[in-house]
């Protein structure tokens, strides 16, 4: 196993583990606001780890840049949706 493979394994492994932890957090937490924290964490850190892994494998080619765009899109778009969801939850509580 080369250093390149090791870096890929670590990046993908940590990204998947972090994403699964966030999904587990959704079930464990009790309030919608706590669950939103985990939903935000799921779209903040793991996408950039995956993008980093793709960039290590492909360098700055089309797939690498696409993976980075996906990560940035998730990072930018998710807080807006979280805000809308929290607003609905707050309306529900009155």
């Amino acid at each position: 196993m080369t250093t390149h493979d090791l870096v890929l394994d670590v990046l993908v492994g940590v990204a998947v583990a972090a994403e699964l932890l966030c999904c587990l957090g959704l079930v464990v937490m009790r309030s919608v606001y706590d669950r939103l924290h985990y939903a935000m964490a799921a779209s903040a850190v793991p996408p950039f780890l995956v993008a980093a892994a793709v960039l290590v494998e492909e360098d700055w080619t089309q797939p690498g840049i696409n993976a980075l765009v996906v990560a940035v899109a998730l990072f930018v778009v998710s807080p807006v949706v979280a805000h809308a969801t929290a607003r609905v939850a707050r309306t529900r509580r009155g």
Binding site: V12, L26, A39, P47, N66, V70, T85, R87
Partner: protein, 84 residues
């Protein structure tokens, strides 16, 4: 099987808690589950595109966050107006 495909397979397990939330919890909680499922599936598609060495598959992963964004916002608005 390479590391990308193993990662995608493991990542898809993350849809199960989101599905559980959609079935068992309240509607707002289900919305959070839907949002997270969108993120999980997007990342799984990136890993699958890389695992199969098909850069064209990445287009689906590129479009999904935006479609998921619009869909979730629409549902949030609908929930706020009609279902609460």
């Amino acid at each position: 099987m390479n590391v990308w495909l193993w990662g995608a397979s493991a990542l898809l397990l993350g849809v199960l808690p989101c599905g559980w939330l959609a079935v068992r919890a309240s509607r707002v909680d289900a919305l959070v589950g839907l949002q997270t499922a969108g993120t999980v599936v997007t990342l799984a598609l990136v890993l699958l595109a890389e695992g199969f060495h098909r850069s064209s598959y990445m287009g689906v992963a590129l479009v999904l966050p935006f479609l998921s964004f619009v869909g979730t916002l629409l549902i949030a608005r609908f929930l706020g107006r009609h279902l609460l």
